[in-house]
Amino acid sequence: MESSVLMGIGLLWVWATIAGLDLVSVPQSMVARPFIVAVVAGAILGDLLAGARIGIVLELFALDALPIGAARYPDYGAATMGAVLVAAGQPPVAGLGVGAATGLVLAALGGWTMPVLRRANARAIRDRLEMLRTGHAATIRSLQYAGLARDGIRSGLLSLIAIGAGLLIRHLPPLEGDAAAALTVAVVGAGLASVLSGALRTAGRSRRCRWLTAGLLTGSLLAVAL
């Protein structure tokens, strides 16, 4: 493998790991959002538009989920990077469907790792209850750093899996015309359904619903005019 390709993959791994840590642990600056991860990953791979397309379609799904409290939600960080790896350099219709489908599977897998991490943190705390009760500062610090390290390992491993999945799917025979278009249509349609249902659920029957309707009308007019 060429050194420039290895460098690109290394950069993707670092970027997706940072995004994975940002999701919950530190600093929750929202670089883990699919749109942000995808545009940067697209730039790393030299296909900004493929990154933007993947980022926008996966963001439609992500906008449906509110990361509230102990809820389990998909982890789009590494998943989006894997999706962009699949779609970069492909024709738009062929790359978008397969890439986004890969991203959805990886995001669901990432969501499954969150409860595992949370249970591991709880186990570590149970072993140090007496020290915690007395407010032992070094114990609190060590639990905090260990939690951070666990999440770093979790997102690093997820990123490796996403890179492996992305490279593997790139080497499979590509989908033919109709199947590729159908996959793109299905994923985009599902994404639109997802963001709309989330927006309607949040708006309820309040004034926000009227603003949402006004926005949809404005957006439709702009989409026709542009």
Partner: protein
């Protein structure tokens, strides 16, 4: 300069809310969820952030300091960006010599309040509003401008709110609930929600056009049909049928139809 330690009257913190270690505690609040777990939730992160603020108490009363440090790492949960309000208020109450029972009740009361407030203000308000705007800018103008606008706008607001929260908590102590109710937060929460509704509404058709732009008319109509069906299913089975599940189901059906899956 650390606060003087002593019993407060009417829950008012002693020392006008001046506590050393604010900067360090503020920085540590960015990692308040690093050890998140199902038993103490934010507890360990709160204890970690409280450590620099409680250092002044160690010099005056080491026994009280140990109790306060232990309490700071107990069960707590709220929206992570507003955790500073609870952290500041509970630390100010510790310095004011409030009873163990009152401090625990304060934290329990803040769990639900700050959780609901933060979820509305950020997860259902600022986040979709800024992301809707970013998607509009990305589609109409450039993806990089969308990314830049989102990260600067969102994080600018988030950092300012987190700093305000820590300062307000430290300054008001046990009266933090009144301070929140009379602050700008409830008003802004309403407006941010309306802006989020509008901006996400504008972004949806533009995103659909951007993503389906290269396809034929019949394929676009099928895409709209998939969206309408998904919306109906989400409405009917809202508790169990999230967007990702529908997406995976749609992908599986397409792959089965075209014989890609066995």
């Amino acid at each position: 300069m650390p606060l003087a330690y002593g019993r407060a009257s009417h829950g008012k913190p002693i020392g006008g809310g001046v506590v050393s270690g604010r900067g360090k505690a503020f920085a540590r609040l960015f990692a308040v969820q690093a050890a998140w777990n199902y038993e103490r939730m934010l507890g360990i992160g709160m204890g970690y952030a409280a450590e620099p603020l409680l250092a002044g108490l160690e010099a005056t009363d080491s026994e009280r300091h140990a109790e306060a440090a232990g309490r700071s790492a107990e069960f707590f949960n709220c929206h992570p960006y507003l955790a500073g309000l609870a952290l500041g208020a509970s630390v100010a109450a510790e310095y004011a010599g409030e009873s163990e029972d009152r401090i625990r009740r304060l934290k329990t009361a803040l769990c639900g309040t700050l959780g609901a407030l933060g979820d509305h203000l950020f997860w259902a308000g600022l986040l979709p509003a800024m992301m809707g705007l970013a998607l509009i800018v990305a589609v109409v103008w450039s993806p990089w401008w969308g990314v830049g606008l989102f990260l600067v706008g969102y994080n600018g607001c988030r950092v300012a709110v987190a700093w305000w929260g820590l300062r307000t908590g430290l300054d008001t102590g046990m009266r933090v609930g009144q301070a929140i109710a009379s602050s700008w937060v409830p008003r802004v929460r309403r407006w941010v929600g309306l802006a989020a509704g509008f901006l996400v509404g504008v972004a949806i058709p533009l995103a659909g056009r951007f993503l389906l732009g290269g396809l034929g008319r019949s394929q676009i109509l099928i895409g709209v049909g998939v969206a309408v069906l998904g919306l109906a299913l989400a409405y009917r089975f809202r508790a169990t049928f999230g967007g990702v599940r529908y997406g995976l189901l749609a992908v599986a059906l397409v792959l089965l139809w075209f014989g890609v899956l066995p």
